[in-house]
Amino acid sequence: MKKNALGAAVVVLLLACAAYAAFFIAPTDAKQGVVYRIIFLHVPSAETGLVSFFICFIANVAYVLKRQPKWDWMGIAAAEVGLAFTTVCLITGPIWAKPIWGIWWTWDARLTSTAVLWLLYVAYLMLRTLIEEPERRALLSALFGIFAFIDVPLVFGSIRWWRTQHPQPVIMGGPGSGLDPTMKAVLFFCWAPMLALMILLMHSRYRLEAMRGDLDVVRREAEAA
């Protein structure tokens, strides 16, 4: 418990440092003005969401191959945390889009594939509530999670493969793309607390699921007694 509180305190401190860097160290964008600073929240949360879904995919494949409950717990933890980060991405995107594009939302490849990704992982969580039997629930949700992950490369590639309303990538983009070096450094600096937050949330969520597993065992013992 003490370790958890210490971890949470470190993450909060890192997030505060990231916010300071985003507001006071990164220079103001000449074209967009101050509103571009949402990038330091929007991009790291989007990327962290994709990392979480990748972890979920690895856990889902591992469960299908090994059938160990720990991989099921890891899968659900990663899916839920990824959904939290993708929710933040889907909220901060329109807040940034409105003053710059003049619209909150458009059905372009990046925005649509991200919305579909969000819905797929909501379906993954809903599926788990519909199946009572633990092994069947774990297997079916792992198979669904593997299917849902197909959308992740689409989200990543959408702004590289198609011309979209959403800007082209500023990191790992083609020639002519990129960011001012200070902005880029701040962006990477802001990603670190997001990853730390992801680990903290995933760890807490994994422990919760492990406890649920223990509870199932004790319940079965109580029913048998």
Partner: protein, 51 residues
């Protein structure tokens, strides 16, 4: 400083989402822990009665 409100709104909402999620996980964990303790103690009681 045009659109500064949008930047603050984005940060507040994002931190709010993470905070609410963290609290919801902590509350679910606390509820499960209570239930686990309750079940374990009732199992122990019935085992003692059996002796």
């Amino acid at each position: 400083m045009k659109n500064l409100n949008s930047v603050f709104a984005a940060y507040l909402i994002a931190w709010g989402v993470f905070f609410i999620y963290y609290v919801s996980v902590a509350r679910r964990a606390a509820a499960l822990k209570d239930e686990l303790e309750r079940l374990k103690s009732s199992l122990n009681q019935s085992a003692n009665r059996g002796k």
